[in-house]
């Protein structure tokens, strides 16, 4: 880089030369001085450039990209901490706890830190109620991790003993565990949350997950060297606990239903059973149970197929319990009234290729008797005189073939095929409960609609806070006539006499349907049945509607009147007493048990 070229022409830097020797030495001197100066400039120039670079970088860091360094600084001592929040509880209509989140502690560890004080491991294992070798194995095989669950969801008192050992590298974390005090009794209805997570997986827990669910909060904190929080810096997101859910269930009625259904399913060696109780005035579900059930607190050993709430998900051909809703179409047509005579002899009728039979030949009987004695022939004959459209409309207006709107996960709409596809044989089949499928909840809802004088109210699983408006789907006069006919079912001569209650008038209908299996309805020896009883009480001013479904009773008795009706009676007797509904059949109570009091003036 040096050389004469750097010196500008015409510049006088040195005195003129006097001699050759001096000239030579002067030339040397001059070139050395030149070199020095030029080097100086290079060095200064380089330093200037570097200085500018530093300033540019400093400006960049401090002014233009100021967040980065601050973040890096903060990251050395601030942490984002999670704030756990409680999932909302579920309560029954009287405030009894059905589901609650209980605080529990999860023990976690940093394996390397724990192994540094390995003499503590036996005591730690004992406090964790775990095997010592298991713990050592777990720790040594996870040395590359900083976070390792040791035991999840310990009770706080047990976890406090673990914390008291003060083993380095062992920490507690607060979590919540879902607990269902009523266990099996409310299993299907409530469902459950995912294990170790506050997310609904089945039942009401799933249906109202958004309402019940809590939102975890986040906050930025400053921690010291040992991980202790020294200061809250800012709240990033506040923790929001979930809302409480007040269910429509009355736990007392629910327990009664559970107990009676379980006893009946065991007594009759049935495969399964469902029972639904509705409040007629509000459409609220007061009880909903199934058998077999499971305990949501301990569901490890139970096949997931048991989690299904059959009362809303499973469909079946209802058999005779559909008859009141077909009769509703007949009464509404104006061509039939309860005393219209129908000839059912000889107890058999051929429709297309299909023979339809009765248990006994009833002869010429009134429509009321057709219902009371559950004559398939009478129903078929009557149905075939009705327009298919009118029959379909009646069934549809009672809610068959549509979801009830309860919002329960997996609710089935049942099957009600379009009347355009009905031939005579299908129309006759529908009239006594085949060729259509329903859920127990749909049947209960339809009976509740009858009981409410033809007003269909939406089914709800939450407690109704105000009167629920409904839709008038049939003439109230028709509903009254039907209730009177259904009372005759529970009379001494009816098929449902075992549903009778002391002191209360009962209106109901039995059903005994043959089950359609892969190869038809089965031959004589191998037939399977669904026994049902649906009804409303007290008949004079109905308050409660209920349906009992017993699937494949395996004993000698399989008729709805023998298997399902007694369950209905037992549950209703208890429920009416619990709800303080006054008796409406005082005339049927023995005079000796009645005490009359008169007010003193």
């Amino acid at each position: 880089m040096s050389g004469p070229g750097m010196i500008k022409p015409g510049m006088t830097l040195f005195k003129p030369m006097k001699s050759a020797a001096r000239l030579a030495s002067r030339t040397e001197e001059r070139s050395a001085a030149d070199q020095f100066r030029s080097r100086l400039r290079v060095v200064l120039g380089t330093m200037l450039v570097l200085c500018i670079c530093l300033i540019v970088r400093a400006v960049d860091l401090q002014l233009l990209d100021d967040g980065f360094l601050e973040q890096q600084g903060d990251a050395r001592y601030t942490r984002i901490a999670k704030l756990s929040a409680n999932r909302g509880g579920v309560y029954d209509r009287n405030g009894e706890t059905l589901a609650a989140s209980v605080p529990v502690d999860t023990v976690w560890a940093n394996p390397r830190e724990v192994l540094r004080s390995s003499e503590q491991i036996p005591r730690l294992a004992a406090a964790l109620h775990r095997d010592r070798r298991w713990l050592t194995q777990l720790l040594t095989s996870n040395l590359d991790r900083d976070f390792l669950y040791l035991v999840r969801h310990m009770s706080p008192s047990d976890a406090a003993q673990v914390a008291a050992l003060q083993v380095p590298g062992v920490y507690l974390m607060r979590e919540y565990q879902r607990f269902y005090p009523a266990g099996e009794v409310t299993g299907h209805l409530l469902g459950f949350t995912k294990k170790y997570e506050d997310v609904g997986q089945e039942g009401l827990e799933l249906a109202y997950d958004g309402w019940l669910g809590a939102q975890r909060g986040l906050k930025r904190v400053i921690q010291d060297r040992l991980g202790r929080t020294v200061e809250d810096v800012e709240s990033i997101r506040a923790a929001e606990p979930g809302n409480d859910l007040i269910a429509s269930i009355d736990l007392r009625v629910q327990y009664l239903a559970y107990r009676e259904l379980k006893a009946a399913v065991q007594e009759h060696h049935a495969k399964a059973g469902s029972l639904v109780v509705l409040d007629i005035e509000t459409g609220e579900v007061l009880a909903m149970v199934n058998q077999p059930t499971y305990n949501p607190n301990d569901r490890e050993q139970v096949a997931p197929s048991r989690y299904r709430n059959r009362a809303v998900t499973d469909i079946f051909e209802p058999g005779s319990s559909i008859k009141p809703f077909v009769a509703a179409a007949a009464l509404a047509s104006g061509r039939y009234h309860p005393d219209t005579i129908i000839d059912t002899s000889p107890g058999m009728i051929q429709v297309g290729l299909k023979p339809i039979t009765d248990r006994h030949n009833l002869g010429r009987v009134s429509l009321t008797t057709v219902i009371a004695k559950s004559s398939n022939v009478g129903m078929s004959k009557m149905a075939l005189t009705l327009a298919p459209e009118a029959m379909w409309n009646s069934l549809h207006s009672f809610g068959f073939g549509a979801v009830s709107g309860s919002g329960f996960p997996g609710e089935s709409a049942g099957l009600l095929s379009d009347y355009a596809h009905w031939r005579k044989v299908e129309q006759a089949s529908v009239s006594y409960g085949y060729f259509l499928s329903v859920t127990p909840l749909q049947l209960a809802h339809a009976y509740a609609t009858l009981g409410a004088g033809g007003i269909a109210r939406p089914v709800t699983l939450r407690r109704a806070e105000q009167p629920v408006p409904g839709e008038q789907v049939i003439d109230p006069a028709v509903a009254r006539e039907l209730l009177a006919m259904m009372e005759s079912v529970v009379s001494q001569d009816g098929t449902g006499n075992r549903a009778a209650l002391a002191g209360y008038r009962v209106a109901g209908k039995t059903g005994t349907a043959q089950k359609f299996t892969g190869n038809g309805y089965g031959t004589d020896g191998a037939r399977k049945y669904v026994a049902t009883f649906g009804g409303v009480v007290p008949a004079s001013r109905p308050r409660l509607a209920a349906i009992v479904v017993i699937d494949e009773p395996g004993g000698q008795a399989y008729y709805g009147g023998d298997v399902a009706a007694p369950v209905f009676a037992n549950v209703m007797a208890g429920a009416l007493r619990l709800m303080g509904v006054p008796p409406d059949a005082l005339d049927r109570i023995p005079e000796a048990t009645l005490v009359r009091v008169s007010h003193e003036p």
């Binding site: 209980v102 706080p156 809250d232 023995p590």
Partner: protein, 89 residues
């Protein structure tokens, strides 16, 4: 010149006061925060106990258990229909 010096000394005094105030408020924040944390711990402990007690109570009051006790220990029975008296006004 003297007015400038006066302003300077006033500002210095204000600066000193505010600096002390910052220290004081910082200290108060810390000590209040520690108190808040201990109160939160106490609340959590009480919450935990409350939940446990609620669960315990509902476990004791399970309908199945009450019925079992009523029938077997206390020998209670549901009255038969003829033992019931209905009072009519």
């Amino acid at each position: 010149m003297s007015s400038g010096r006066g302003a300077l000394s006033v500002l210095s005094a204000v600066l000193l006061v505010t600096a002390l105030a910052v220290v004081w408020s910082r200290h108060t924040t810390r000590s209040l925060f520690i108190e808040l944390q201990s109160l939160r711990r106490e609340r959590d402990a009480l919450d935990t106990e409350w939940q446990q007690l609620k669960i315990e109570q509902s476990a004791w009051a399970t309908h199945g258990r009450v019925e079992q006790t009523a029938r077997s220990v206390l020998k209670m029975v549901v009255p038969r229909p003829e033992e019931v008296r209905l009072i009519q006004e």
